[in-house]
């Protein structure tokens, strides 16, 4: 496994205003994720896992501190720069798949490529490779409603990897799946990490899912903690 940090979170705080009250979600958080590592972020509800994931993925900007992904300071980019950067460097996997219902599996996977200067032939090659990797090349003309939850999540993963991103972020990717499908999705993430050396950040409540990662980081009240209180997870 490579050891150079591809994600560097440095003294990051994120707070929101709720009326006159300031709500601190993340407090001066530091985190390094080496290239090719599969990191699971765990924590109780409201601990700031998704907020951290959104910040690293460039969907939100920190109130304080810096976030670097590779050689780019994500926290200093404009919205347009972030959109372009996400398209090329970040793959997202959502809990509820969020496929466009009117598009086929093929077209859903192709969506991020429409923004890149690629020929139709090259796009087709990349889409078919991604669908093959997730084992769905025979379902490419199906629309989401014709696929099972596990298959839809596979299409979501194919969409996330089709641009060959630096980083894959997954927010509860198994949260809406049965045990068997969840197992298959985690297998797939492991394959992507090992065979393609992808860096994966996964938010999960599920300890079994987290154990499939190389490393587990626990968050509580906006800070990374080494020894989590097991009782905190029971609600989740």
């Amino acid at each position: 496994m490579a050891t150079e940090a591809i994600v560097r979170v440095s003294h990051v705080s994120r707070y929101f205003k709720r009326g006159s009250e300031r709500v601190n979600v993340l407090n001066e958080l530091d985190l390094d994720v080496p290239e090719g590592q599969f990191l699971a972020l765990m924590g109780p509800s409201g601990s700031g896992k998704t907020t951290l994931l959104n910040l690293i993925a460039g969907l939100d900007t920190p109130s304080e501190g810096e976030i670097w992904v590779g050689d780019r300071c994500v926290s200093k980019m404009t919205e347009a720069q972030l959109a372009r950067w996400r398209n090329e460097h970040v793959g997202f996997v959502f809990q509820f798949y969020h496929l466009l219902p009117v598009l086929t599996a093929y077209e859903n996977v192709e969506l991020p490529l429409l923004l890149l200067p690629l020929s139709a032939k090259k796009r087709r090659e990349q889409v078919m490779t991604a669908l093959e990797l997730v084992g769905l090349n025979d379902r490419n003309s199906h629309i989401p409603s014709q696929l099972s939850g596990g298959q839809q999540q596979r299409v979501g993963i194919a969409r996330a990897i089709v641009t060959d991103p630096t980083l894959i972020v997954a927010d509860e990717p198994t949260g809406d799946l049965d045990a068997k499908s969840a197992h298959e999705i985690l297998d797939l993430l492991n394959v992507l990490q090992r065979s393609l050396n992808k860096t994966i950040l996964m938010v999960t409540h599920d300890l079994r899912a987290a154990r499939r990662a190389d490393r587990i980081q626990h968050l509580d009240k906006g800070r990374l903690v080494d020894q989590p209180d097991e009782a905190l997870y029971e609600a989740g």
Binding site: L59, A83, N87, E88, H98, L103, E107, L115, V203
Partner: protein
């Protein structure tokens, strides 16, 4: 191309809503196409020509104009008396005969409105009939020749012919309404080509004049309208200067003292006839048409707003995978504009062909016009109306997509 595919697929997402919105656009574009065609046609009719001017001579102080027929010959010459005076290139007299094919009653199926005139003037002085293509012109010419050979001949517009349930060759009796106690027995010798004169008829003026003389012979007194039988005289002049000169000749002529007459350009004359409809036309032009366009924009705005609200998550996903706010905005605008332009085009082009080819014009009797063609401009009106209204209707919902915050859409306590 791929974006267009995305736009079309999004419109198919809720087919019922897209079809209802399209239906709304089509109905409103249909109505506005009809309104604009009528207004456009009247604009053309009331705009001055630069050559082949037509002038209308009418009674100066009285509406309706009722001049003695003795004025006809002088007026047709433009009241030219001196060698230096100019004469019109062509002219035509009109006597309106209104009647019914059923004695004592008048209904839609018995009503007759006839221009009594010289038959040969149909092909040289009547708007649109003077520029017929060879086929219809030959048919009308044939009917005119029959009218000239038989002064009881009558040409009837095709819709009127159907309404009175007669056919060419049949004989009809027309009981005068404005010419009380005058009954004309006519033989239908032909029809007008489909279009502007569908509900009109044409009778040889000699027959009406002879009938008035016969009335006098029978009743030992002239018919009350005998000296007021000529309603209009049309004169055609080559240009504005000649018109001005003819106008001056008529004004100076001592022939027209009682009643005095005036000449005005055809467009001005038509405008005067349309003065009675001024309020109606103003409402059509400045209230109804803009209201329909505004309604159209609201219909589209409503549909697109609902669509945007339903798809906030999808738009957030598009942002996540790298779509710029402007690209998402253009996708939404594109959906609205695609729907508006396609539905608008189908409606206006369909209206053009249906009204012109099947109905033979918009049946909207006003002044001397019984029906109006849908103008050629309608072929692109639908697309233009669809574009403008869909843009206006969708710009706010589309702009709202720019401010969709991904973290807000996917926010959850995790």
């Amino acid at each position: 191309m791929k974006f267009l595919m995305l736009i079309v697929k999004n419109l198919r997402r809720n087919l019922v809503r897209s079809m209802l919105t399209s239906a709304g656009v089509m109905v409103l574009v249909f109505v506005i196409t009809l309104i604009w065609s009528i207004l456009g046609f009247l604009d053309i009719a009331t705009s001055e020509k630069t050559s082949n001017f037509k002038g209308i001579v009418t009674e100066k102080w009285s509406i309706p104009s009722q001049m003695p027929f003795s004025y006809a010959a002088t007026l047709e010459n433009g009241a030219a008396r001196e060698e230096s005076d100019v004469k019109p290139i062509d002219s035509m007299t009109w006597q309106f005969f209104i009647g019914s094919t059923e004695k004592g009653t008048m209904g839609f199926n018995s009503f007759i409105f006839a221009f009594c005139m010289e038959p040969k003037k149909l092909l040289t002085m009547m708007d649109e009939l003077d520029s017929l293509p060879p086929g219809p012109r030959a048919e009308l010419d044939d009917a005119i020749k029959k009218m000239e050979g038989n002064r009881q001949g009558i040409i009837v517009g095709q819709k009127r012919l159907a309404a009175i349930e007669k056919k060419v060759g049949d004989r009809i009796k027309i009981f005068g309404t404005n010419y009380r106690d005058i009954e004309l027995e006519c033989e239908i010798v032909g029809t007008f080509p489909l279009g502007r004169y569908d509900n009109n008829t044409c009778i040889n003026r000699d027959y009406l004049n002879a009938s008035l003389e016969a009335y006098q012979a029978t009743n030992k007194k002239p018919h009350p309208l005998a000296n007021k039988t000529m309603n209009l005289v049309w004169v055609k002049v080559p240009n504005k200067d000649t018109f001005t000169q003819v106008s001056s000749q008529i004004d100076k002529s001592p022939m027209f003292a009682s009643p005095p007459v005036k000449i005005e350009t055809a467009s001005s004359g038509v405008s005067n006839f349309l003065a009675a409809y001024k309020d109606l036309l103003t409402i059509l032009r400045w209230v109804l048409a803009p209201s329909i366009i505004a309604t159209l924009a609201v219909v589209i705005s409503n549909a697109i707003s609902i669509s945007v609200r339903e798809r906030r998550k999808e738009m957030a996903v598009l942002k996540v995978i790298g779509f710029q706010p402007n690209q998402i905005m253009f996708l939404v605008l594109g959906e609205a504009i695609f729907l508006g332009v396609v539905a608008g085009s189908v409606s206006s082009i369909g209206t053009y062909f249906f009204v012109n080819k099947v109905l033979g014009g918009i049946p909207f009797p006003i002044a001397f016009f019984s029906s109006f063609p849908v103008l050629d401009g309608a072929l692109w009106w639908g697309a233009a109306i669809g574009f403008v209204t869909s843009f206006a209707g969708s710009i706010l919902p589309a702009l709202s997509t720019r401010s969709i915050k991904v973290v807000d859409v996917f926010s959850k306590v995790a």
